[in-house]
């Protein structure tokens, strides 16, 4: 058993005692009812389960939750798909996903949203040349599987958010 305390979408949770074998995915979905994060494969292949981990130094990265013990998230600050909209207002990327019709069944969408958001924040800190943009987006999103859409519109949505504000993201 481990005691788990963490921050999710700006709100503190815990201390809760959790079994060592409890995955973070089960903790989010079963203990907290935050079912926006999905369970896809349970084998670290699809990243439908990905959440954003925010480091104290201001950098962020996505992490799977299906193969990581909840105990490993102790003390961390994370964002899930439920945390992107602020006061009912969808984020820029969420709106782009809708406008581009980027998702169909929606099962992979939370993962793509988190990954896209982390990519935008990473580019804000370290911009890339326009010529490298498609490759950068491709590498960032390649960990995520989608069976419905063929990926095209996810990539276009992220690309168009970046191209709408090029000085912020591109050299």
């Amino acid at each position: 058993m481990t005691t788990l305390s963490l921050t999710i979408n700006g709100r503190t949770y815990g201390p809760t005692d959790v079994r060592d074998e409890l995955t973070m995915n089960d903790y989010l979905r079963e203990y907290l009812g935050l079912t926006g994060t999905k369970f896809g494969c349970g084998a670290a292949q699809c990243l439908s389960c990905a959440v954003i981990i925010d480091n104290p130094d201001g950098t962020s990265y996505t992490s799977p939750t299906c193969i990581v013990p909840a105990a490993n998230f102790n003390g961390k600050s994370i964002r899930t798909v439920e945390g992107h909209a602020k006061n009912g207002e969808l984020s820029v990327l969420q709106k782009a996903f809708i406008e581009h019709f980027a998702f169909q069944c929606g099962y992979c969408t939370a993962g793509f949203l988190n990954e896209g958001q982390v990519l935008l924040e990473r580019l804000e800190k370290k911009r890339v040349p326009r010529a490298d943009l498609e490759k950068t987006i491709g590498e960032a999103l390649d960990g995520h599987l989608c069976r419905c859409t063929g990926y095209v519109r996810y990539h276009e949505a992220v690309r168009d958010v970046i191209l709408a504000d090029p000085h912020r993201y591109l050299l």
Partner: protein, 97 residues
């Protein structure tokens, strides 16, 4: 997902495959963004046959013409007709000699 069906999704029968109870997406490989020509897609919508023709659903249409087109392209490139899927890199190498 036609690309996955044509090139990647190998599903052996019985114990060699998911019948052994241990398969997941690591063994059943589906297409990722990097497997697809995401920026080189052209979509051509053909005009309706009849002005009064109503729209119809086409559902998972990728399972049909995409595969045929890819296997025809392989024939065009290699002269070999494949009649079993998936056509992996190894199978193509095998007929290139």
């Amino acid at each position: 997902m036609g690309v996955g069906y044509t090139f990647l999704e190998k599903l052996p029968l019985y114990e060699d495959g998911p019948g052994n109870g241990k398969w997941n997406l690591g063994q059943y490989v589906v297409a990722r963004g990097s497997d697809l020509p995401l920026r080189d897609l052209e979509i051509e919508v053909l005009p309706a046959v009849d002005a009064n023709e109503r729209p119809k659903g086409i559902a998972e249409v990728t399972g049909i013409p995409v595969i045929a087109a890819l296997v025809n392209a392989i024939f065009d490139a290699t002269g070999h007709r494949f009649r079993a899927l998936p056509v992996t890199q190894d199978t193509i190498k095998g007929v290139l000699k």
